[in-house]
């Protein structure tokens, strides 16, 4: 007993002096021994940051818990009563919005300085102070060079290019309801081109789709394999695929928006100090430099980091053509978030075959009419196009909060009341859309036979 007792005091002293030493060496406060990060990021990114952070804070052991964004959100929601996660680290700002609304995030004020307020035209940090942007990413077009060469298809540059008949059956995209970043692309298009024109363009592009993939990584996967030639993807998917050696390339169209990728401390985090230290590390110069790794390839939020970037690396802080054309309205986007997702699924994802058929019929009719001057046929084609473009609701209705609530209906209290049922509304839209696509095929075929 005596031995053990004295042993304990010696150990205690040792620990104390060791603690003192560390305290003297590092002016920072002592951190907890552990840090659990729920993240949707790939291994290449998480491992790099885990190792670098553990090197700087050798006492802290970082656990990177990888879950799809949706699964991560559900996980944090379901475990909230007995929370064991410290940080949520993912791209899509809307996932953070969901957690914020549920009161599952903690406020945090960043100590690091030198980070601007906006990237492109999107605010880097959550205005309410819950989540912080650490990198930017923008949507664009990637393509498989072998595929385009073999099929003799030109390289696309702008969204409009993707509406041409030469791309029919060769393009792919994910659905906005499946991926928050895809949602932002659609919303950007709607805000940049206007509600009606934006949707019309979206459907013209979608009429050429080979597929709508179930997860956002399905798009670069399909382009990398050569399953389809052109994909609408977030920049780092394109840039990192290229860096990994696949015969692919990537371009930003003029209308795009840069969106911050985020990190936030979970409410009641068991290790808040370590969590804060991780955020500070991520935003420090050393942390930002790591984003330029060829396997990671995300746009840093520190302007000075770009000096170290490879040639041709896009820099949104000097090149104002990237993501600056659209003044992105976050409030608008948020208020109709689920409604836009639902419209996309009803009009495009679930009726892709019908939409493709209608688009093909119109393209064929236009080809048959090329060079001919047939006013009646041209009128029929225009009618068919209008039928495809027709929307079940106009922009005013999309911003009507009561209507949009049908798609959210999260009853927090028993007294909350929501009107309408999503399934009911979707069925009405679906029958209209299906009808219109079928009519468009008929009109186009009639025009073609003229």
């Amino acid at each position: 007993m005596l031995l053990r007792g004295s042993c304990r005091t010696i150990m205690g002293r040792l620990a104390l002096s060791a603690g003192l030493l560390i305290f003297l060496a590092l002016p920072a406060q002592a951190l907890e021994k552990q840090l659990t990060v729920v993240t949707s990021y790939p291994k290449d990114l998480t491992t790099a940051f885990k190792q670098a952070f553990e090197k700087q804070h050798p006492d802290v052991k970082v656990e990177m818990l990888k879950k799809k964004t949706t699964a991560g959100v559900k996980y944090i929601q379901e475990t909230a009563s007995n929370n064991s996660s410290d940080l949520f680290w993912a791209s899509a700002p809307d996932a953070f919005e969901v957690l914020k609304e549920d009161g599952l995030l903690a406020k945090y004020t960043v100590k690091a300085t030198g980070i601007p307020d906006v990237i492109g035209s999107y605010p880097i940090n959550d205005p309410d102070g819950f989540y912080k942007g650490f990198a930017g990413s923008g949507y664009g077009i990637m393509w498989n060079t072998r595929y385009l060469k073999a099929k003799k298809i030109p390289v696309p540059q702008e969204w409009n290019d993707l509406t041409q008949s030469v791309y029919h059956g060769h393009t792919g995209m994910s659905a906005p309801s499946r991926s928050g970043t895809t949602h932002l692309t659609v919303e950007t298009l709607l805000q940049g081109e206007g509600w009606d024109k934006g949707w019309a363009l979206m459907k013209e592009i979608a009429g050429n789709f080979h597929t709508v993939t179930e997860r956002s990584f399905g798009v670069p996967d399909g382009v990398n394999s050569g399953q389809f030639g052109v994909g609408i993807v977030i920049d780092f998917f394109g840039l990192s695929s290229k860096a990994s050696g696949f015969p692919v390339d990537f371009v930003y169209p003029t209308v795009t928006t840069l969106v911050p990728a985020n990190i936030a401390i979970v409410k009641n985090a068991p290790h808040p100090e370590a969590a804060a230290a991780f955020i500070e590390f991520l935003l420090s110069e050393a942390g930002q430099d790591m984003l330029l790794d060829p396997k990671i390839m995300r746009l840093p939020v520190r302007p000075e980091t770009y000096a170290k970037a490879p040639k041709d690396f896009p820099n949104p802080f000097t090149d104002h053509s990237i993501g600056a054309k659209v003044k992105f309205d976050v409030v608008k986007s948020k208020s109709r978030y689920n409604l836009v997702n639902s419209m996309f699924d009803v009009m495009i994802t679930y009726r892709l075959d019908d939409l493709r058929k209608a688009t093909k019929a119109i393209q064929d009719a236009e080809k048959a009419m090329a060079g001919k001057d047939n006013a009646e046929a041209a009128k029929l084609i225009a009618e068919a196009k209008a039928l495809i473009a027709a929307l079940p609701i106009d922009e005013t209705k999309s911003l009507d909060t009561e209507f949009a609530a049908t798609f959210k209906k999260k009853r927090k209290k028993a007294t909350d009341k929501v009107t309408g049922r999503q399934a009911e509304v979707e069925q009405q839209w679906d029958s209209m859309v299906k009808d219109n696509y079928a009519k468009a095929v008929k009109l186009a075929n009639k025009a073609k036979s003229m």
Binding site: S40, P42, K43, D44, E63, L65, K66, K67, T69, T70, A71, V73, K74, Y75, T79, N82, S84, A92, D94, A95, V98, N144, R146, Y147, A150, S177, R178, T211, V212, E214, P220, D221, N224, S225, G226, Q227, S241, A243, G245, F246, P247, V248, K295, N341, T349, Y350, L352, F407, K408, K409, R411, A414, K417, R421, Q422, A423, E426, Q427, D430, S431
Partner: protein
């Protein structure tokens, strides 16, 4: 009546297990299907919406069509393989039975990529067809693509269960038929096939249910207009709390139970059990020269077809860049080096989890089938229905249910929430794969003659001793079949696992594959990990078959055959 009490106790324990780990967690998630979203009151309005929505009606019919056609094509693939390997003296019988299980293991994500690279519209096969003949066959498009993949993927259910049943047929039945002058196709059609019916039905109903409820394949082909995909897409959308996803889940469960009930009706009132002896299997005979060549050609063709995704996976795991070409640009072993240096714990975890889960599955499967078929416990069929209903519960729903139910329950001693203890992953796998083991065990027990048990009891053995010494040994073939299917499919389970993993050190292989397949550079290592899963399961099932064969030979010598 101590005997009666034992069976009631067993039934009660089974009911408790299913209640705690299946009914309550799932109920906690899907109750919103019965809730009016505006008032929170109980209602069926969501189900009215379901049937009013043309998209859902279409999806329902599509799922039904796919399931039916998949059973047909899976039978066409499985029947010759099962028949030839059990009926004739055949060099590579064990090999064929082993390779037959491999298609069941389609690792998530990498399997999809491998299939697209091989069969896709710009995959190897179509690139070659285009080069040689200028044609392109859409193997992987639309509903027909789903049927093709489902048949290739799930035919082992029929193969395994049918083979087990064929091996269990009483030889004297066949001999009697031959003595009465029945031969060839007539013998097969009138005697062999009917006697093997429980096994075939067990397999076919699994294929039907699985194809009906399957999520992976339609997602891989991006076919959205099917029920399981609709449910999944709605449940896992960001921020959407639409009840329709759960309504569809409820409908999937109900329909699955209904079709199970129909398949039970088909086999009710028939006696499939052998007479005096236990399992002896069909009379094996040698084939004539030309028969042999024909059989080998057919089998090689079928195996090549069903194993092509795995051949493609092999190429992918050794290839550098594979994009829009017949073969990868170059080959390397770097992916395996990476997997072995960084992720070895995934492999050991998977062996542990899937092994425990499959063992529990056959134990529970034997117990449930015995209670259902051999006792008079009140409501015993419900054990079967509920356990099989697990097949139709989406993995995400089970995962969320476990988090919701067990997160506040701290396990004594380790003082951690049950929901974040690795054991919860094992339980999830046990529940999700229980239907496979259960169907196999039920089919096996159908073939055991009641008279053998009666004889044992007449000779003074108790119920427990009879089960242990007579029933279980006679069911061995079915039990092994159940173990192999549960084990194989548990190794690649992802959806519930992804929800429940709370520490990387506890994660199984499927999670590792998911992690790799999040980035372009991870495709090769992901494929390598997938191939390791395939090898692990294949060697496991080879050993299992080896074990059956040895057992049978020992039985044969001991009974003088």
């Amino acid at each position: 009546m101590p005997r009666l009490r034992t069976s009631y106790l067993v039934a009660l324990a089974l009911a408790f297990f299913l209640l705690v780990f299946l009914v309550i967690p799932v109920g906690k998630v899907i109750y919103v299907a019965f809730q009016d979203s505006s008032t929170g009151a109980l209602t069926l309005v969501n189900f009215v919406d379901f049937f009013k929505t043309s998209l859902f009606r279409e999806s329902f019919l599509n799922s039904l069509y796919v399931a039916g056609m998949s059973v047909l094509f899976a039978s066409i693939i499985a029947m010759p393989l099962a028949y030839f390997t059990t009926r004739f003296n055949f060099g590579g019988s064990i090999l064929i039975q082993t390779l037959g299980i491999v298609p069941l293991i389609m690792p998530p994500f990498v399997g999809a990529v491998a299939m697209q690279l091989f069969f896709g519209s710009n995959g190897s096969v179509n690139l070659l067809l285009d080069q040689w003949f200028g044609i392109n066959i859409p193997f992987m498009e639309g509903l027909n693509g789903v049927i093709l993949v489902e048949s290739i993927h799930y035919f082992p259910f029929i193969l395994i269960n049918l083979s087990a049943a064929l091996n269990n047929i009483d030889r004297s039945m066949e001999e009697a038929a031959q003595n009465l002058g029945s031969t060839g196709m007539r013998l097969f059609r009138r005697i062999v096939l009917p006697l093997a019916m429980p096994g075939y039905l067990a397999g076919a109903s699994l294929v039907f249910l699985k194809a009906f409820d399957d999520l992976g394949t339609p997602l891989l082909l991006n076919v959205n207009n099917m029920l399981a995909t609709q449910a999944y897409l709605r449940i896992s959308s960001i921020g959407i709390s639409d009840p329709m996803g759960y309504v569809i889940s409820v409908i999937l469960v109900i329909f699955s139970l209904f079709s199970l009930w129909v398949s039970m009706l088909a086999s009710r009132g028939k006696d499939y059990s052998g007479g005096g002896k236990g399992s002896s299997g069909l009379l094996k005979r040698d084939m004539k020269g030309w028969e042999k060549i024909g059989a080998y050609c057919l089998i090689i063709f079928l195996l090549l077809m069903v194993l092509s995704p795995h051949i493609s996976l092999l190429l992918l795991s050794f290839g550098t860049i594979w994009s829009y070409s017949v073969l990868p640009d170059a080959f390397t072993t770097a992916h395996y080096a990476e997997v072995f240096s960084t992720t070895r714990q995934y492999i050991t975890n998977t062996l542990l989890y899937a092994g425990i889960a499959a063992t529990f599955d056959v134990a529970i499967g034997v117990a449930i089938s015995y209670v259902v078929l051999r006792t008079k416990v009140f409501g015993r069929r419900w054990l079967d229905y509920i356990a099989t209903g697990a097949l139709a519960v989406p993995g995400v729903v089970l995962g969320i249910g476990y988090l919701r139910t067990f997160n506040d329950f701290n396990v004594p001693i380790i003082d951690k929430p049950l929901a974040s203890w690795w054991v919860i992953i094992v339980i999830a796998l046990t529940i999700r794969r229980l239907p496979y083991a259960l169907r196999a065990c039920t089919a096996a027990l159908h073939q055991v003659s009641l008279s053998l048990e009666e004889a044992s009891e007449n000779l003074g053995a108790g119920k427990t001793a009879t089960v242990r010494k007579i029933v279980v040994p006679l069911m061995a073939g079915g039990i092994v079949a159940g173990f192999v299917t549960s084990f194989a499919t548990a190794t690649v389970e992802l959806s519930a696992t992804l929800m429940l993993v709370t520490a990387e050190s506890d994660a199984p292989l499927a999670y590792g594959i998911y992690v790799f397949m999040q980035s372009a550079a991870g495709r090769g290592p992901g494929a390598a990990l997938g191939l390791i899963a395939v090898l692990v399961v294949a060697s496991g099932s080879y050993l299992a078959h080896h074990f059956i064969e040895r057992n049978k030979r020992m039985q044969a010598t001991s009974t003088g055959h």
